[in-house]
């Protein structure tokens, strides 16, 4: 019966694992909803600030902010990589990092040096081990409710570097939340800001009174705007993390169930074999007597 007993303890341990994965699955499912709410709550700000930028740049056509100028020579490219703090979320981070590396290698081939700013522990663990890449700033433990305040430090670092000419271009990498089943790793250009397409709509008949000057306001607003873009990327990534974890944990639970079924079958067979053997021993013994 020893084989059967071993199988029983194996079944018990797999059942315990399934309990954990099931719990993680349900926790993630409820967190997806919360992070989606955060995403939609952050949209009005981004929309309004974009409108304001449209007005401001229409009001100051002669002034071009450094954020909107594409530099002729790209000597150094910065990456803001948004990742998760924790694992157990399938290939979410790996897919993103692979995409970032591919993008980086095209930049390196073009002769640019690479600087990285990491948000989330996984990104820093990954990029610190890669030679030729300098991690200049890092933040982690942002938690379930990210705030702009969590990002000020890293963003200030890259803005300073951009103004000083240490960075000529800035890329943003994160996982875009499409729906619960699909997340898309994205690497997009953050700075210089891509040209707005709907600029002709902004030619309106009236204009604002600006206090102080429009230029000064534009400086401040553009910084806020880029920060809000990164903030939204963090939220998208958070929702993606929970969705990916839910899917990964669901398949882990399903696998555990399959394993339990198989083990149950093996247990029944072992038990049956033991009984059959006992009977045949008894019968054999009786015949010998």
């Amino acid at each position: 019966m020893s084989g059967a007993r071993e199988i029983v303890s194996k079944i018990r341990s797999v059942k315990n694992t399934r309990k954990v994965t099931k719990a993680l699955e349900m926790v993630s499912a409820s967190k997806i909803k919360k992070s989606q709410e955060l995403m939609s709550a952050s949209r009005p700000y981004a929309r309004m600030i974009k409108q304001v930028i449209g007005h401001l740049s229409a009001a100051t056509p002669e002034y071009t902010h450094p954020f909107t100028v594409t530099r002729d020579e790209i000597k150094s490219v910065g990456y803001v990589v948004v990742s998760t703090d924790r694992g157990l979320c399938g290939g979410l981070n790996t897919n993103l990092f692979r995409m970032v590396l591919a993008d980086m290698s095209t930049q390196i081939e073009a002769g640019a040096s690479i600087k990285v700013v990491t948000i989330g522990r996984k990104a820093s663990q990954y990029f610190r081990n890669i030679s030729g890449i300098e991690v200049v700033a890092h933040t982690a433990n942002i938690g379930e409710k990210p705030q702009i305040a969590d990002l000020i430090g890293v963003m200030k670092t890259v803005f300073d570097a951009y103004h000083n000419g240490e960075l000529d271009r800035l890329q943003l990498a994160y996982n875009d939340f499409i729906n619960t089943m699909a997340q898309q790793a994205l690497v997009s250009q953050l700075l210089p800001l891509p040209e707005a397409e709907d600029s002709d709509q902004l030619l309106q008949h009236w204009d604002y009174i600006y206090e102080p000057e429009a230029r000064e306001l534009l400086d401040e607003v553009l910084t806020r705007y880029v920060e809000s873009l990164v903030y939204q990327a963090v939220l998208e990534n958070l929702a993606s993390e929970h969705a990916a974890r839910m899917v990964a944990m669901k398949s882990a639970s399903d696998n555990a169930s399959d394993l339990i079924d198989d083990l149950n079958l093996a247990y029944n067979k072992a038990r049956q074999a033991a009984i059959t053997q006992e009977i045949s021993e008894i019968v054999g013994g009786a015949a010998a007597v």
């Binding site: 955060l38 000020i152 401040e220």
Partner: protein, 140 residues
């Protein structure tokens, strides 16, 4: 009575949305009182209160730590900062972020990270199990 629509939003959430008869805010260039049909205005806000006077005479207070105020004739939008922003505070945060990066880099030599340790644990367990199985076979 005439009212003006007022939205207060921060990067994180929409803080308030509703009608007011008068909006008071602390602009960087001075106190502002905005009545309905105010001329379009765009200004920076200093840290302070944003006060809304409602039609029933009640007042609502919000604290903003800076931000932007946009006025259109029938709409006031406050793009509020939730975090304290000042050059030196931002600088301190930036230094902190740099230190974090250095610390993460230094960790590589020192302690192992958890994922690595877990992988090693799993390997060790598998080896132990294999040994135990071998021992059982021999003793049989």
């Amino acid at each position: 009575m005439n009212t003006i629509k007022c939205d207060i939003v921060s990067a994180e959430k929409s803080i308030y949305s509703g009608e007011a008869t008068m909006v008071f805010a602390t602009g960087q260039m001075g106190e502002l009182g905005i009545a309905p049909r105010h001329a379009p205005l765009l200004t920076k806000l200093a840290p302070g209160q944003v006060r809304l006077q409602q039609a029933d005479g009640e007042e609502l207070d919000f604290y903003v730590s800076g931000g932007l105020l946009e006025v259109q004739p029938h709409l006031v939008t406050v793009l509020a900062d939730t975090a304290e922003r000042a050059e030196d505070l931002d600088e301190a945060a930036a230094i902190h972020a740099k230190e974090e990066a250095e610390r993460a880099l230094a960790d590589r030599a020192g302690e192992h990270d958890i994922a690595e340790a877990q992988a090693q644990l799993v390997q060790a367990q598998a080896q132990l199990q294999a040994l135990a199985r071998l021992r059982k076979k021999i003793s049989r």
